[in-house]
Amino acid sequence: MKNTLLLVAVLLLPATGMADSYTIDPAHTFPNFTINHLGFSTLHGRFGKTSGTLEMDKAKGTGSVNIVIDTASIDTGFSKRDDHLRSPDFFNAVEFPEITFKSTKVTFKENGATVVGDLNMKGVTKSVSLNVDSINCGVHPFSKKDVCGFNATTQLKRSDFGIKYALPAVGDEVDLTIELEAVKN
């Protein structure tokens, strides 16, 4: 009887839940941004190298996200502009090689979530709120591993992070979208 109870308890242990841990897939995770350029058009850009971790426990309604972005991996499709963006005028990628986001609170909604966390960019840390429309999890058809992915969006002001060069000609408000996929550990 005791052994039966112990067996049941062990089998039930995963369901009572430790959070699932994921490692961000750098090949399928890209922070993208858009910004107004001189009032003429919207400039698109992205960061090509991202890493980090994700934890989720939907049953308990908890989770965390840690994202590390390689500042120098910025790509707007024009190398001289990318050099300028890496320079001290904007991101100063040599002095600040990483942009980081560490969540402080995750609130799950019907299908998505709101992720509040600290965004550190160019030596300045500000709290931002990422809106996640839907969290999509499943088994990858080729690797057969558990994968979760989502798109997180927010809007921020670059001047809040000390990136003030060329204001207001180049817009202050930046629309940020992080398209993220993570593989379960």
Binding site: H84, S87, P88, V94, E95, G123, P168
Partner: protein
């Protein structure tokens, strides 16, 4: 008005020139030694119009600004202290008055590039450390020595060297993809230009372009820090610094025996422009054309 103040030419040239000229007009009557405050005023004007005066967080650019605002005052401080030293130690007075401010500029540059140095092994970072230290040292010493020139026919070299080094630093930083560094350097050029204008109208017996040690050092410090830092934080090739470091020398040589002061100044400027053209060409060849 807002559109005017966001114009890069206004930010980097006209505004600092006007502010520097106003400050210079005031100090022209009080003390010509302190005309260098006009250069600091010009620099502050451009900074205010571009990124603002906030010093926090203390990034490398803000460290450059802090150094440029504070370090020039080490020259009058050392000169004042050395004036109390007995006359027999005059040679040591000169050496210490040049060495101490120069050493502080070298320390400042190392402080500016510290975020990069601390991430690298010493075996990897020593060439960069040596290169930037030698450059800021050479520029500081060159201008402090130039400040000791008192012959009217040589005075043109002071103003010409400062203007041309500022233009060269600005142009090469622009090519190296840092418009902010370029604007700050051009602001120094505009401010020095205003001082030269003051000496022209004042018809000083010391000559057109004559600047005090404080003024020359106030110009040298930001230019040295900007040029050296651009090789670390922007795309400025190190070879460019080898050309820019010769600007004070080209302004000095040959001995200028031209009667008219403004012609003498133009000739010295032309001579000092030669290494600037070479520096800009090297930067263009290596870093590529400018595009913002």
């Amino acid at each position: 008005m807002q559109a005017l103040l966001t114009n890069p030419a206004i930010q980097a040239a006209l505004a600092p020139f006007v502010v520097a000229l106003l400050i210079a007009l005031v100090f022209q009557r009080i003390s010509r030694y302190w005309l260098g405050l006009a250069i600091i005023g010009g620099l502050l004007t451009t900074l205010m119009l571009t990124t603002g005066l906030s010093l926090l967080p203390l990034s490398s650019t803000r460290k450059i600004i802090l150094g440029s605002l504070c370090l020039p005052f080490t020259v009058p401080l050392m000169e004042g202290l050395m004036a109390r030293v007995p006359a027999t130690a005059k040679r040591w007075q000169t050496i210490i008055t040049i060495l101490v401010p120069t050493a502080l500029v070298v320390v400042a540059e190392n402080w500016i590039i510290w975020p990069v140095l601390r991430r690298q092994e010493i075996a990897e970072s020593w060439p960069m450390l040596l290169g930037v230290s030698l450059y800021v040292c050479a520029i500081s010493v060159a201008f402090l020595l130039l400040a000791r020139v008192r012959l009217p026919e040589k005075s043109a070299t002071q103003g010409a060297s400062a203007v041309m080094l500022a233009l060269g630093t600005g142009a090469t930083c622009l090519i190296a993809a840092s418009a902010l560094y370029a604007q700050l350097a051009f602001a120094v050029s505009a401010a020095v230009g205003s001082l030269i204008l003051i000496t022209f109208f004042a018809r000083s017996s010391e000559g057109l372009g004559q600047m005090s040690s404080f003024s020359l050092f106030a110009a040298a410090v930001p230019l040295a820090l900007l040029g050296a830092s651009a090789t670390v934080y922007a795309q400025l090739p190190a070879w460019v610094l080898l050309c820019l470091v010769t600007v004070p020398l080209f302004g000095w040589w040959p001995s200028i025996n031209i009667a008219r002061p403004w012609l003498r100044l133009m000739f010295a400027s032309f001579m000092a422009l030669l290494p600037v053209i070479l520096a800009a060409w090297i930067a263009w060849k290596i870093a590529g054309p400018v595009s913002f």
